[in-house]
């Protein structure tokens, strides 16, 4: 698992094209430091645990070991076994226990090592936690966060049961909020917002991004849930993307600028509830839309985004919405097959050319 992490690191840096300066968010001047996505998540956990004694961590090997990707490393030493709790391999009950603790006033932050394993916990996540508030007529709320690494990136090679992007499973269930940050800045701000939110929040972490760096303010801040973030504003075409795909979109924008194509990039950093207004506004402005998601194509997130464009901007469309997605396949192990299973920046560039040429 940390092997996958190591790949991410090496490959992350071996891909100079995907450089941190593609996205700058920390307000100029304000004191900030450069953190990786992984460090930013850890910083959010630490600060929220310091701020609120009700916050505690629950998950497999999150103690000394620091979890599958080292995200919680050092927190066990800092907060001890009552705030950072190692569990047995019991995903459904980890989430269920988190719900029970939340029902009596705690604010658990749980980790499932890979989103792929959350199939074991779907009942507690979607059928219990998401519905408890409504089923009880508002007698209770379930304030928890479930952190789950997901997705891949060229050359991860951890095959079919450790590589999926499953945001749609959760985004389709009312009562849940679903977040997928693309940058260290967003990761920290969104996680703080998620921990302070009174609803069950699915916090997805794109594995390949763990090693990505960015400036993160020292000051306490939150990135509000429920909003898309325009990472780049442009006049000619809108790229709607989330997670790692936002970086591909930004890189594509950079590649396309010299051709005189001015790209706007809308980051769906909260997958659900979906900020339809921002997507609609951008689509009406540019009239051309490309959707990019790492998840499998069919019944994936791009469908909902496309319907949103249809509902919000139909009369403004100058070309059909085009999508770039993961292939409809379980992720194969071998490099030579895995490569084609996920979108690449080149695919995004090509899709933009396609909508511009329409």
């Amino acid at each position: 698992m940390a092997a996958a992490e190591r790949d991410a690191v090496s490959l992350g840096s071996a891909k100079p094209t995907l450089s941190p300066d593609l996205i700058t968010q920390a307000p100029a001047g304000a004191p900030a430091q450069e953190l990786t996505y992984q460090e930013a998540i850890r910083a959010a956990l630490r600060e929220e645990m310091q701020r609120d004694p009700a916050v505690f961590l629950l998950g497999e090997d999150i103690g000394k070991h620091g979890g599958a990707f080292g995200v919680t490393r050092t927190l066990f030493d800092e907060f001890g076994p009552n705030r950072v709790i190692n569990t047995p391999i019991s995903e459904n009950s980890i989430v269920g226990a988190g719900t029970g603790a939340a029902l009596v006033g705690m604010r658990p932050v749980m980790e499932i090592m890979f989103v792929d394993f959350s199939g074991l916990a779907m009942d507690q996540i979607c059928t219990q936690a998401a519905k408890l508030r409504l089923m009880t007529g508002g007698q209770v709320k379930v304030p928890w966060v479930l952190r789950m690494p997901q997705g891949g990136g060229a050359g991860k090679s951890i095959a079919a049961q450790h590589s999926q992007s499953l945001e749609v499973w959760y985004a389709h269930i009312p009562g849940l909020k679903v977040v997928l940050p693309s940058t260290p800045y967003d990761a920290k701000g969104l996680l703080k917002a998620a921990i302070r939110d009174d609803n069950p929040v699915i916090f997805l972490e794109q594995k390949f991004l763990y090693s990505f760096r960015g400036h993160v303010p020292d000051a306490d801040y939150v990135v509000p849930l429920g909003q898309c973030d325009v990472k780049r504003s442009g006049a000619d075409v809108t790229i709607v993307a989330s997670g790692l795909m936002v970086w591909y979109a930004m890189l594509a924008a950079k590649i396309l600028a010299p051709e005189g194509i001015d790209v706007e990039v809308v980051d769906v950093c909260t997958i659900s509830p979906l900020d339809r207004a921002t997507i609609g506004r951008s689509a009406r402005k540019t009239g051309r839309v490309v959707l990019v998601a790492e998840a499998c194509k069919s019944y994936g997130p791009t469908g909902e985004w496309a319907m949103t464009v249809m509902e919000e901007a139909f009369d403004y469309l100058r070309a059909p919405v085009v999508r770039v997605t993961g292939r409809d396949t379980p992720i194969p192990f071998a490099d030579s097959l895995e490569k084609g299973a996920w979108p690449e920046t080149e695919d995004v560039v090509q899709a933009v050319h396609q909508v511009m040429a329409w």
Partner: protein
């Protein structure tokens, strides 16, 4: 030491409330006035009441699809419960939950979850919170014998055991899971044996004997409060009605059911208590009259309560 008259009378009152409530609810269901489904707790009254009388108001129970009785045993208001079953705005869940999700948080509930086994980890998590905060409260998940074959049960028992959490696992063996007899889905005859896999005590009691259940529960609760960890309490009872009101019961004989009716907990309690002279028939008759009135009033209250306003349909989805 012997139990006080007051306590014994309250046990009888709550058992009778359950019996009358279930009878009324099933009746309303058969007459089409209750939508969905009703899973009667008749035959298990002594189990829920014996356990809940050993709890404090701030101890929490996790219920199932069959939790009218658990709520009433914990002290819930039968009028607000009947209103919930009829889907009225005055119900505990403002009509959002209905029979299967009825949960009175004001009297100590963690919710009633209709996915078998799913309530168990909630109780484990509540117990974990109690322990982390140094509270002496106890969490009590109720499960049927069918529910012990779910992964949730195993995971929850193990977690509570290794962290020695203040949890009392109550396994109500009413002998059937819908149409399936316990002997067809569990090989061990004594279900309390299952506690051994987790290194915690397993206790088995006559689930028709409210005093026996209370006594065993009180011990386990004391153990949990003092930080010694969880206990598995198996109450041997029987589901005297169909799985749901009006269920055909093609899988068991009338004789079998009749035989168990001879042992039903209310009649037995009255017989034993009056025979021993611990309680008088007059005392119990008074409660009979009182409860009959209470349930009739609950039905009236429910029927006269308004349905939830459609304008509130989007409330309570998010906090």
């Amino acid at each position: 030491m012997p139990l006080s008259q007051e306590l014994l009378l309250e046990m009888y009152r709550r058992m009778l409330r359950i019996r009358q409530f279930e009878t009324a609810a099933s009746d309303l269901f058969r007459r089409g006035q209750v939508k969905g489904t009703v899973h009667p707790y008749i035959g298990q009254e002594a189990s829920g009441v014996g356990v809940c009388m050993a709890l404090n108001r701030d101890d929490l129970i996790a219920g199932t699809h069959r939790s009218h009785g658990h709520n009433i045993a914990k002290g819930a208001d039968t009028a607000k419960m009947m209103a919930e079953i009829l889907g009225r705005a005055t119900g505990y869940c403002q009509g959002r939950g209905g029979s299967m999700h009825i949960a009175a948080f004001e009297t100590g509930s963690l919710g009633a979850l209709a996915v078998v086994g799913s309530g168990i980890p909630l109780a484990v998590g509540a117990g974990l919170a109690f322990k982390l905060r140094g509270e002496t409260r106890v969490a009590v998940p109720f499960t049927g014998e069918g529910g012990t074959n779910t992964g949730n049960w195993h995971e929850g028992m193990n977690m509570a055991a290794i962290w020695s959490l203040p949890v009392l696992f109550v396994l109500e063996n009413n002998h059937y899971a819908v149409s399936t007899n316990v002997d067809d889905i569990i090989k061990v005859k004594d279900l309390s044996l299952r506690a051994q896999a987790y290194g915690i005590p397993g206790v088995r009691v006559d689930g028709f004997d409210v005093v026996a259940v209370y006594t065993a529960a009180a011990q386990a609760v004391a153990r949990a409060r003092s930080g010694e960890g969880p206990t598995l309490l198996v109450t041997e009872c029987y589901r005297l009605e169909g799985h749901y009101a009006g269920e055909p019961e093609v899988y068991r004989s009338r004789d079998e059911v009749q035989a168990y009716w001879q042992r039903e907990p209310l009649g037995r309690f009255r017989r034993e208590m009056t025979a021993a002279g611990t309680l008088s028939a007059a005392q119990l008759d008074a409660i009979d009259a009182e409860v009959e009135q209470e349930i009739a009033a609950a039905v009236e209250f429910a029927k006269n309560s308004p349905l939830p306003d459609p304008a509130t349909a989007m409330d309570y989805i998010y906090a």
